[in-house]
Symmetry: C2
Subunit: 205 residues, 2 copies
């Protein structure tokens, strides 16, 4: 297989995983994923990402509580039919995943000397998003699943994890070996939404 | 080589390219990159990314003008020593690159039915950022270079490209075959900044 075919295979099997087997990932492998994530592009070479392992049962419980509240609020706002469909989805692997990793972005990094972010300051956070995506792909290439939980109140998570004030909360990742492997998104399999992007053509100017 | 080693090779050689050879990339290959980008993850399966080919010489000139102004403003704000270092950098391949691609994000997509973006609405834009990163990696795997230009006023670009009002401007990409290949960032080679992230350890809670 060519490099591009292998890469596409990684893209195809990189899913948002919500069902995990209980056995942990080896510490050396997790360290490797952290290293590989650091190869992501960043604006001005600012490398603003910060990865936090959340191991304390108390803090994990706090995050589960925040998820449950955000989830209940989201459900309450939906119309009845939509709410029924929403209620059928499993949206996070927070109970099963052996590893919890919170990702933050330094708000105004000194590293990078401000290059490239004067007119588009969001590029700093976007660099962190690409580091998360890099981590996710590196995990997928090793048969490890990642689920990105975004149904959370960022400020509540920051408090529960006592993160530095200069860090912005970006993502909460559930990490572990998936209990099933799929090359299609779970939201598509459960009938929530269909992918349409592959049929879209270039806009031209 | 294992899949993860091949993937890391793609990460290592995926650089922000600012020096391009003039020959174009085959249309079929560009279409392939667009297809592969659509495999990116997206919040609620919303696929909010929109890719625009900018071929009109007039519009390309307009974007170059916006870059030149943003660049001059950035230079004027820097202290003398810093300004001299900044002035030595080549920050965009807008003159040489055979292809210009602007990327936008639909602000409030219907697709995805709002799932996962209630408390963290930025996850929509972040999905588009991951599609850009996917495009970039797919290009790198084919020996094609991408340079992300962010020294631009988003509103001025939107006007120059007459993009729909509901789309947010995210990135302007220069695309083509690189005139040199490097496994280190240009900003590091030119002494602007050093990478530090690979030495960073987990934060623990």
């Amino acid at each position: 297989m060519t490099t591009s075919a292998i890469l596409e295979d990684v893209f195809r099997w990189r899913r948002d995983v919500r069902h995990f087997r209980p056995e942990p990932v080896a510490e050396a492998t997790l360290d490797e994923l952290l290293q590989v994530a650091s190869m992501a592009p960043s604006v001005g070479l600012s490398e603003p990402w910060r990865f936090m392992r959340v191991d304390s049962p108390t803090r994990r419980d706090a995050v589960r509580g925040i998820f449950a509240r955000s989830q209940a609020d989201a459900l309450a706002e939906r119309e009845s039919e939509d709410a029924a469909a929403y209620a059928r989805l499993k949206l996070a692997g927070l109970d099963d995943a052996p590893h919890h990793i919170a990702v933050f972005s330094v708000e105004d990094p000194i590293q990078g000397r401000g290059l490239g972010r004067r007119t588009m300051p969001e590029t700093t956070v976007w660099s962190t998003v690409m580091a998360i995506h890099t981590f996710w792909l590196a995990a997928a290439a090793r048969g490890i699943g990642v689920g990105w939980v975004s149904i959370l109140e960022p400020e509540a998570v920051r408090q529960a994890l006592e993160s530095p004030a200069s860090w912005r909360f970006i993502a909460y990742l559930c990490v572990g070996y998936p209990s099933e492997r799929h090359d299609t998104p779970e939201l598509e399999r459960l009938g929530w939404e269909q992918r349409q992007s592959a049929c879209r053509e270039w806009v031209r100017r």
